[in-house]
Amino acid sequence: MPACPRRPVRNFKPGFIPTKFFEYLEHNQKIATCCRHPEDHDIEARKSHPDEKQPDIYIFHCTCGLKHTIFCVGAGDVRPFWEVR
């Protein structure tokens, strides 16, 4: 279910989106060049279940239309949350 609306990654302050999320894409040589530049992507956040307190799914939308999904199953990491006003 949707948790946070899609918006450009560039609109966030540096550090708001965990660095690790970027590294998943920047270090992946199996994906297209454009996909390896998450700073140019949009990002949205979702919840796997309505009872989740924080988003546990983050989806990067590349300019080419492809999506890169991160499913957060562990504890102890940062789960950014945002609203659009």
């Binding site: 799914i57 890169h68 499913f71 504890a75």
Partner: protein, 139 residues
Amino acid sequence: MATYNKFEDFSEQLCRGLHHLHAAGDLLRVYLSNAAPSASLDAVKADLAEIAGGNGYTALGEDIQNDLSETGGTTTLTAVDVVWTASGAGIASFRYVAQYNDTNASDALVNWWDYGASIAPAAGETFTVNYGASYATLV
């Protein structure tokens, strides 16, 4: 974080010494399924169908490089994040992310997480399992 769902048989088998979750112990794998798991009825990997291999998904799943640490009586289970990249064509639809003990002769199931809906990464797309600082604790 997504809710950790335990296969009921896991706790018994853990106490019987079947699972050795430290790095030098057993090898745990994470795999993808589009079949609804049963906490009470599923005990081994054969009970919970895996998606077809191919297009960036390797049948049997991926080694999570499991390890653990203990502090003050709390044991923390850790793993290394896994990234699947669809290539050539899409990865088959799945909804559940499950773990099993590959060292165990029966491939005993450990737990699963529910993504909430089926997903099928298209060619060039990725699906990452982020384990965070830990994926489970035993107290």
